[in-house]
């Protein structure tokens, strides 16, 4: 059995799943950048004293599930979300969804994800995909980071739905409860809500490891790495930062380009010139992140080794933090009611 589901590739998995599921539910105006902006997906955290794969715990994205929930919430779309303790129940629930004609979003771990090539299989549990059909115990998969649809066997799907470790998916399944009609007015409101949330989080939270302050924290740490853990390990830490920022699923530049695209599309709904200005700022901020990544690669490839090079890297990130602060402050201070 195969449901009529339109697979559209996206830069980021949860954006893609949300976009595709919402379009399936009848919201034709929705795009990936809109989902990312309304869901306030732009984010930064650097958790001290915690290690991921032996490197710094840095994230450019919100907790898994948040983009979908926030977007649906802001648009007033009712959501079904379920976790399971029993693997059999999880599969039965999914099969019932398909029987009822409902494609379902699933959170999975990528380590045992059979159709991913070995190079990309890490213990990362916040990947998202849509199951839209089943034939002879083989599920049909719309994985938004891929150009085309694919398949996975029932036992393999069970394994990734019950991946273990940090952010274990616990068979999590989610989808919009019913088909809906959304007016442009509702989208406008949702855009404002998303911008308010993201700009508040990035520029205003008084926690030194979150948002722009978190970026400054990372910049400060980079300066210390060479002394603390040595050139090689320091390089590995930078490689981890670059992977979080650029690896498949980020759209490059740590999501900054997707956010810039969102602000441009937001302008089509709310013609406020500030949105276009800030969009331009984010384009250049994304470029700066990529320039910093080039500097980092010089270090982790062993071409640049002196403390001076770590300082240059640190200053680049510090500069980015300053520019992001200005951009998010501008968004935060927009007077929406005229």
């Amino acid at each position: 059995m195969e449901l009529n589901f339109k697979h559209q590739q996206a830069a980021h998995c949860e954006n893609g799943v949300t976009t595709n599921l919402l379009q399936h539910a009848g919201i034709n105006q929705i795009t990936e950048p809109l989902v990312f902006g309304i869901g306030a997906g732009i984010f930064y955290i650097h958790i001290p004293f915690m290690k991921i794969n032996g490197g710094p715990a840095i994230s450019f994205r919100t907790m898994p599930g948040q983009i979908f929930s926030r977007t649906c919430n802001a648009l007033g779309v009712p959501v079904v979300r379920k976790k399971f303790s029993s693997k059999a129940d999880a599969q039965k629930y999914l099969d019932n969804c398909l029987q009822a004609g409902q494609p379902a979003g699933c959170q999975v771990g990528v380590y045992y994800l059979t159709y991913f090539p070995k190079e990309f299989r890490f213990h990362f549990n916040a990947h998202n995909l849509v199951i839209y059909g089943k034939e002879d115990n083989i599920y049909k998969v719309s994985d938004p980071v891929m150009e085309t649809v694919t398949t996975i066997s029932a036992p393999d799907l069970e394994r990734v739905r019950f991946a273990q470790g940090a952010l274990a998916p616990k068979g999590q399944i989610y989808y919009p409860k019913s088909a809906v009609n959304i007016t442009d007015e509702q989208i406008k409101k949702a855009i404002v809500k998303g911008i308010k949330h993201a700009s508040w989080f990035m520029a205003e939270t008084p926690v030194p490891i979150l948002g722009v302050a978190g970026i400054r924290f990372t910049a400060g740490r980079i300066k210390q790495w060479r002394e603390e853990v040595g050139e090689r390990k320091g390089g590995l830490f930078l490689a981890q930062l670059v992977r979080m920022q650029e690896e498949i699923g980020t759209g490059g530049g740590g999501f900054r380009f997707v956010y810039a695209a969102f602000l441009q599309q937001a302008y089509n709904f709310i013609p406020n010139e500030t949105l276009l200005e800030v969009s331009k700022q984010f384009t250049s901020i994304g470029d700066l992140w990529r320039t910093a990544a080039v500097q980092a690669s010089g270090i982790y490839k062993g071409r640049l080794t002196s403390q001076q090079e770590f300082n240059v890297m640190s200053d680049m990130v510090m500069d980015i933090a300053a520019k992001e602060r200005v951009a998010f402050k501008t968004l935060y201070n927009i007077k929406w009611k005229q």
Partner: protein, 137 residues
């Protein structure tokens, strides 16, 4: 990033898919484009794997010298740490550390060994002999 600047470097992504990037066209309008890969991030991925490989080789040597059991080797081979092995097997972390000792490992029941073999995707025999075709990566 401008549309014509979207990197198209050969990378491990070639075996998989092209990825979506957002970039601006001549008029400054954002559009989605496809990228084949970017050398900078292919290198970041590459050295991450090099490091994993080095850790696995270290573990193999330790096992061969009788300083550790194959559990340590397979843990590194599968990019896991104690918390992940513990989450998959249900063993406490200190229990797993005990299983790292060859003397303890040699007395483990078939049932416990099978639990390890399952998460490491190997047969019981291969688990004991570390018989994997070289390094998987």
């Amino acid at each position: 990033m401008k549309k014509e600047e979207i990197p198209q470097d050969p990378s491990p992504l070639d075996k998989f898919t092209k990825e979506v990037c957002y970039a601006v066209d001549e008029s400054g309008k954002y559009e989605a484009g496809l990228s084949r890969g970017w050398q900078v991030k292919a290198d970041a991925l590459g050295i991450t794997w090099q490091e994993a490989k080095a850790r696995t080789e270290d573990a193999r040597k330790k096992v061969e010298l009788g300083e550790a059991s194959p559990i340590l080797f397979f843990m590194e081979l599968n990019l896991m740490d104690l918390s992940i092995v513990s989450a998959y097997t249900g063993f406490w972390q200190w229990t797993i550390k005990r299983h790292f000792k060859p003397a303890v490992f040699n007395k483990l029941s078939e049932k416990k060994l099978q639990q390890y073999a399952d998460i490491f995707d190997v047969s019981l025999n291969d688990l004991k002999t570390m018989n994997v075709d070289g390094i998987k990566f």
